[in-house]
């Protein structure tokens, strides 16, 4: 083999070596690009899960508060009924005492 042929072989081999390195570099960039897409998907999925869970938390809180509000209404109604009953039972006595106060104070 002549010296020129040997140089040619070396040049070809170098070119082949560069292609191998370039392909690896391109593949690496592709890996990073895919990874970033995957990372963004992970983020979006986490946010979507969180938003769904947020809706559930808010809905549950609203339902619970409305149930407690309903209970408050029931308790209030009981208090109002007891006041009405007390009023019926004690009105005459209260009127009598009040008249007595105005007349005799």
């Amino acid at each position: 083999m002549s010296g020129i042929d040997a140089v040619k072989k070396i040049v070809e081999t170098e070119a082949q070596a560069r292609r191998i390195v370039d392909e690896a570099s391109a593949r690496a960039q592709q890996i990073i690009s895919e990874t970033r897409e995957q990372a963004e998907r992970i983020r979006q999925e986490a946010i979507a899960r969180a938003q769904q869970q947020r809706e559930e938390i808010l809905s549950e809180a609203k339902n619970k508060a409305e149930a407690e509000a309903l209970q408050s209404d029931k308790e209030t109604e009981q208090i109002l009924n007891s006041y009405r009953k007390l009023s019926e039972e004690r009105k005459a006595t209260a009127v009598s005492k009040a008249v007595d106060l105005i007349l005799n104070a």
Partner: protein, 201 residues
């Protein structure tokens, strides 16, 4: 020559493959790190959203409940006020029709005596006016008036509910002893009395 060239070629290719492998390996490691960081960031964002949701949920709960509690407290207060007002109306009804009761003479005498004493003059002018007041009623009232007193009879009940107003002769000193005036003077005691009697408070 040919053998060493082949060795050189193999070496060049081997170096290139090694470099390529290293590059891929580096980027795979970098990729893993990116994914790991992304997962951690996603988890943090998730937790932040949930933490905010919990705060928001508590705020919604408090808002609903405090609004309801406020409305219900007002309903209870309104009902108590309604009951007290109803009782005060009954009291006013009884007071305005007192001339029909056996207590009238004694009450009228007491109102006149108090009013005369309050204006503290020898010649008090005493205005008296009750609903359905009779001549017989007035005879009894006259008995408690001092000698120089002047009795003025109103045909209508004074201040709607009836009562007595005494003044000095010039009208400068006035003592209002009508039922309406007594109700106003005794307002606090009256409300306390009614509340304690009806609600036990």
């Amino acid at each position: 020559m040919s053998e060493s060239l082949e060795k050189l070629q193999n070496r060049i290719l081997s170096d290139a493959k090694h470099k390529a492998d290293e590059t891929i390996k580096d980027y795979q490691a970098k990729s893993q790190q990116i994914l790991e960081e992304a997962k951690q960031r996603a988890q943090r964002e998730f937790e932040e959203i949930i933490a905010k949701a919990n705060v928001e949920a508590e705020s919604i709960r408090r808002s609903i409940l405090s609004s309801k509690v406020r409305v219900n407290r007002l309903r209870i207060l309104d009902e108590k006020n309604r009951i007290v007002e109803d009782i005060i109306h009954s009291v006013e009804d009884q007071l305005s029709s007192i001339s029909k009761s056996e207590q009238f003479e004694e009450t009228a005498q007491r109102l006149v005596t108090e009013a005369v004493k309050a204006v503290d003059t020898d010649q008090p002018v005493v205005r008296i006016g009750f609903r359905d007041m009779s001549k017989r009623n007035l005879d009894e009232v006259s008995k408690v008036l001092p000698k120089g007193a002047k009795l003025v009879i109103d045909e209508k009940p004074i201040d709607n509910l009836g009562g007595v107003v005494a003044t000095d002769p010039k009208g400068k000193v006035v003592f209002n002893n009508t039922f309406k005036s007594r109700l106003e003077r005794l307002d606090n005691q009256l409300l306390t009395l009614i509340s304690s009697t009806v609600f036990g408070e």
